[in-house]
């Protein structure tokens, strides 16, 4: 009995030793520097390409991304840390991280607006936002709590058609990427995503229908350095790169974002 419990303790100690060793013994060489950026999934395409640009401009630097719904990322940062920079698709989740994990250097760097997408053959004949309220139209939105899902509901409320459209919703998807996938596959008739989601790759597979300015919702994206970042200097350079540098130019010029006000 005693011997077996000693063995068990040894194993637990061994496991703990294994897991803590690389962290405590981490002497990073001066050249190699790593930056971990957590970003809302609507930034996936743009940030991935900007990451390559940034690495080319900063020899030795490696940028690693964690893309996902901003709410989920905020929860991860608050409980597990691990992010040097957080770029959120909504102020709500940046506020959340500011209040729990702590941040510095918060700046709004781009804005985004909503658009309706349908399969390219438009099976339900969607010509305007109001058409989403027609009986039988199969609508996919991102789930509540996901920024793009909340913004879409806000736009529907602005247009005073939220009741009828929400009755047409056939699925509350995980995030905007899932909405885009469902529409490209033609399984649903219409979805609401960001303008920036309709990238060059996505555009041939969908048809976009504009949402009038008076009801559309402008999403403002904040970016900030997360407290406890192991590489504040590089983090600042990344923030500078996407807010005013070449990164900003590409985000607005190529990836469908609008400049921050």
């Amino acid at each position: 009995m005693t011997r077996s419990s000693i063995a068990g303790t040894c194993i637990i100690l061994a496991l703990t030793a294994c897991s803590s060793a690389p962290i405590s013994g981490g002497e990073s060489s001066p050249q190699a520097s790593e930056l971990t950026v957590f970003a809302g999934s609507s930034l996936t395409k743009g940030f991935t390409e900007l990451g390559a640009d940034f690495e080319a401009a900063h020899p030795g630097a490696t940028v690693t991304f964690n893309f996902g719904p901003s709410d989920g990322l905020a929860a991860q940062i608050d409980s597990e840390g691990g992010a040097d920079v957080f770029a959120s698709a909504s102020q709500t989740w940046m506020d959340d991280v500011a209040g729990k994990a702590g941040i510095t250097g918060r700046t709004d760097f781009v804005t985004n607006e909503l658009v309706i997408i349908t399969p390219s053959d438009d099976p339900a004949g969607i010509g305007s936002l109001d058409d989403l309220a027609s009986p039988g139209v199969q609508v996919v939105l991102a789930a509540e709590g996901v920024p793009v899902g909340d913004y879409a509901r806000e736009a529907l409320t602005n247009a005073k058609i939220d009741g009828a459209v929400l009755a047409n919703v056939v699925s509350n998807a995980e995030d905007d990427a899932a909405v885009v996938a469902t529409i490209i596959s033609g399984e649903a008739d219409a979805g609401i995503v960001y303008v920036s989601d309709v990238t060059a790759e996505v555009a041939p597979g969908v048809r976009s229908v504009e949402i009038p300015d008076d009801v559309n919702v402008i999403a403002t994206y904040p970016i900030a350095i997360v407290d406890g970042s192991s590489n504040t200097e590089l983090a600042q350079q990344w923030v500078h790169f996407v807010t005013t540098g070449d990164g900003q130019t590409r985000l607005v010029g190529e990836f469908g974002f609008l400049p921050a006000a």
Partner: protein
């Protein structure tokens, strides 16, 4: 009467690793219990979202278990008894959903049974749409659960004493009579075990369901999907609903404990 000598003592290493293994499984469950907001637990469990998801889960998982038995048991029979070319290939394919990432299963189901899918487009023209429907959630759950019945029935038939059937045959029993009065009664434990395992697997299905059937309260939002959505808006509710799911699953496994051990 002398006791047999205790030669089978457990080596300390085995005991230690076993303890670590047990702790590894128990710790997350314990953490859920510790972290649950117990003061609100009742109101969270009895919330409309949770109760609706519970109802959808029960309906979907029971129908999936039923379909798994209906289609999986004959498959197990064929694999155990029939002799034909490609049987081992068929066995591998039929069992594949067990190890396939569920999201892949969902994409496959979309390609086959979605309204633009190979077969799904024909169904859609006939006015049947499986995607975003409770029936679609049943299809997704059945797809991943059926292999458990196939495996159980095939193993059961292989271990069956065929002399009993032969005896019935020499006494003039027809194949149908032998099936009902000899094979099925003998096969019952495996059939029940397979059905219960399939039910438990269907109860926990997530990836194939959200990919193929979507996520809509009251229609396709099962308990695992409700947990996933609640995580984003109400982490406390996610933990409480998770515990509800754990309790249901433990119930299922306890119910079949005797059957598993009896063999």
């Amino acid at each position: 009467m002398p006791h047999p000598p205790r030669t089978r003592s457990t080596p300390a290493v085995v005991a230690g690793l076993a303890a670590a293994g047990a702790a590894f499984v128990l710790l997350p469950l314990l953490a859920l219990i510790v972290r649950a907001p117990w003061s609100d637990a009742w109101s969270l469990v009895s919330s409309e979202t949770a109760l609706t998801a519970l109802r959808v889960s029960v309906v979907v998982s029971l129908l999936a278990a039923l379909l798994s038995v209906l289609l999986g048991a004959p498959l197990g029979w064929i694999l155990a008894r029939a002799r034909f070319r490609g049987r081992s290939v068929l066995r591998a394919v039929v069992i594949l959903p067990l190890v396939l990432p569920p999201v892949v299963a969902g994409i496959g189901l979309l390609a086959a049974l979605g309204r633009r899918g190979l077969v799904g487009r024909l169904l859609y023209e006939a006015g049947i749409q499986l995607t975003f429907s409770t029936a679609g959630a049943v299809v997704a759950a059945t797809f991943v659960s059926m292999p458990l019945v196939v495996i159980a029935v095939e193993a059961g038939l292989r271990s069956l004493d065929e002399r009993l059937e032969d005896a019935a045959a020499t006494l003039g029993a027809s194949p149908g009579f032998r099936l009902r009065h000899v094979v099925l009664p003998l096969l019952r434990p495996q059939l029940v075990a397979g059905a219960i395992l399939a039910w438990a697997r269907a109860l926990g299905e997530f990836g194939a369901t959200i990919t193929f059937a979507g996520n809509l309260q009251g229609r396709t939002q099962t308990l695992p999907l409700a947990v996933f959505e609640a995580r984003q808006t109400d982490p406390g509710a996610a933990i409480v609903v998770s515990l509800l799911l754990v309790a249901l699953s433990v119930g299922v496994l306890v119910a079949m404990r005797d059957r598993l051990l009896a063999r």
